[in-house]
């Protein structure tokens, strides 16, 4: 691509010929975070403390300190997050090659199935059926699972029962297939994790984490607005904060869509 083409792309964004869709949830203290047994280490929720607001602590300026875990809000999972990816090269947010932060996405709509069954599991046949309609999943693209989960209220979103969370996610074979047969860049969801709420009972447990990160692939979770994306053709910009040896990071996820 020459400079003129790149600049015309920039112009297309400002003119609206390329639409920018924000896939990010707003960071608030109330937004649910992953619920782990309380004796385990806990991911910190988002918190905001005002430094000053045009007052005696700073007369002309307003600013805050904030705190949160690497896996709070809409966030990126790096391979180092999971034990299966701990020894891979360039496996942390500061060492991942920057070009990997921009990639196309295939969006698989499971919203109807997930509404009908909170424990909906994405399978290989389901993915093959999707390919039958929309074409092959391209190597190097994100696979996004659209469930419309982001439209639920907080309680329905976390959907915690006595036996844990009940939220949709991929089957172990489906994750393995996406990595080995389709060579995806990563797996993205609207739910709190890339894995299903009951994925600790899968073999292996947490397959989206185990297989994706084991092969150096990434995760995106707590996304919103996946219903605004086409099945194919959106380009995703998802660059995590450059935290030294960071296992992930909250981030702004943007989708670029041709406004045809």
């Amino acid at each position: 691509m020459n400079t003129a083409a790149l600049l015309s792309f920039a112009k297309a964004i400002s003119s609206g010929a390329v639409r920018v869709v924000d896939l990010t949830q707003t960071l608030t203290p109330e937004f649910p975070i992953i619920a782990l047994p309380p004796e385990l280490g806990q991911c910190a929720p988002f918190r905001l403390e005002e430094i000053s607001r045009y007052n005696e602590r700073g007369p002309a300026w307003y600013w805050n300190n904030f705190s949160m875990g690497e896996h709070t809000g809409t966030h990126f999972d790096a391979p180092i997050h999971w034990v299966s990816g701990k020894d891979l090269p360039n496996n942390a947010v500061d060492t991942i090659v920057a070009k990997n932060f921009i990639a196309p996405a295939c969006v698989v709509d499971c919203s109807k199935e997930s509404t009908a069954d909170a424990d909906f599991v994405l399978t290989v046949p389901f993915l093959e059926a999707w390919e039958g309609k929309h074409g092959r999943i391209d190597a190097g693209s994100w696979l996004f699972l659209r469930t419309d989960w982001s439209k639920r209220d907080a309680r329905g979103y976390a959907n915690l029962k006595e036996d844990g969370a009940h939220t949709p996610g991929p089957a172990p074979e489906a994750v393995k297939w996406l990595v080995e047969e389709r060579d995806v860049l990563g797996f993205g969801t609207e739910t709190i994790g890339t894995d299903a709420g009951q994925a600790h009972h899968f073999v292996p447990p947490f397959p989206a984490h185990f297989y994706m990160h084991g092969k150096g692939r990434y995760g995106l979770q707590c996304m919103a607005n996946l219903d605004l994306l086409p099945p194919k053709g959106a380009v995703i910009v998802a660059a995590p904060l450059k935290i030294r040896q960071g296992s992930g990071s909250p981030l702004r996820v943007l989708a670029l869509i041709a406004a045809e």
């Binding site: 203290p29 109330e30 649910p32 619920a35 280490g41 806990q42 910190a44 929720p45 918190r47 905001l48 403390e49 005002e50 209220d153 907080a154 309680r155 979103y157 976390a158 915690l160 029962k161 006595e162």
Partner: protein, 413 residues
Amino acid sequence: MTTPLARPKRKNPLARTRLPSAPPSPRSRTAQGLTAAAAEGRFTLQVCAECQTVVYPPRDACPSCLSPRLPFKDVDPCGMLVSETTVRVTSETYFRERVPWRVGMVKLDVGPMVVTHLHGDTCEGARVRLVLKLDRRGAPVMLALPEQDTPDMADDPELRELTCDPKFRRVLITDGRNAVGQAMARACAEAGATIVFVGIADQWRPFPGDAAIKAIAQVEIVPLDLTDTDSVNELAAQNGARIDIIINTAEHVRAGGVTEGTSLTSARETMELRYLGLMRLAQAFGPIMRMRGADGVIAAAAIVNLLSVYALTNWPVYGVVSAVEAACLSASQSLRAELRPGGIKVVNVFSGPLETEWYQTLPPPKVAPAALAKAVIEALRHGLEEVYVGDVAQDIRARLEVNPKALERELGE
């Protein structure tokens, strides 16, 4: 007979809220011996170590034998009300706002004659028992009660002025997700609180007892997370002016010492919830409560801290928690001084291990949440400032008085 307190009418929003005024409070350093007893609801006077004379008012030398050895000791509080006066005119602002006010002289069986406030059910020539109370500025005062309890005696205006009775008050329980918060909400409702606001953090997270607590008629669930400044400020903005008592039930108990067994993440969570949480409560609610310290019979009255008794001396098995509790204890003393101008009491309720999940592996004796709640209600009804609930807390308190260094070493074994 005491006229039972009527449910207070709704406040006239056009009327100015009267600011708290101060009862006369200077006391000698020696007289602070009475403060210590009043804070715990004990009745002590100086008893001469040489000649056993019971001395009042507090002095530095025995009026009988001039001995300077005059320790405060628990003594029999009974006596005879020999004279009474009803004050109708006074130059003291505090009492001008509260006349008519009865005072009298009581001849104690143990010797001294005492000038005292009088409960409405006492009468000249009758037997009475004296109690030591902290007044609205935290200074010790005497009040004569009838020898036997009388119906509705807690509603007496002179007594209610010295206590924080939850009856008809609006209470905030800061955390209703745990067993202690739920027991406290039940106890407050039973004690006659008009509204029991119960703070629930992360309402998306189910918790045991959810339905039961919502079923209590007086309970109003409010979103509250003491680790979130905005959440605390928002509740204060919404309901601060109608919260008269705060009971802080937020807990974060994790076993582990400072070197091992506790991660910094967990220690930070404990500090964030317990210490900074208390500060957030103080900053959001303190100024409103202080301003409402004389707001009628349901004036703002108290902030209750539930503290581990290991705030007083560290138990290394729960070393980090003990340290954070010590920080909370220290903060509560600052808070107490800062709220004193409003007549708001800061009540510290110390207990040993509780009969709750995070103390599961410890052997008895442990304090049941309901027992802790009962002790808090009693403390409020009696206007106490320091309460030790259960055998462990009382044992620690007693051993600290005898030999704090020995206790430190024994707890570290």
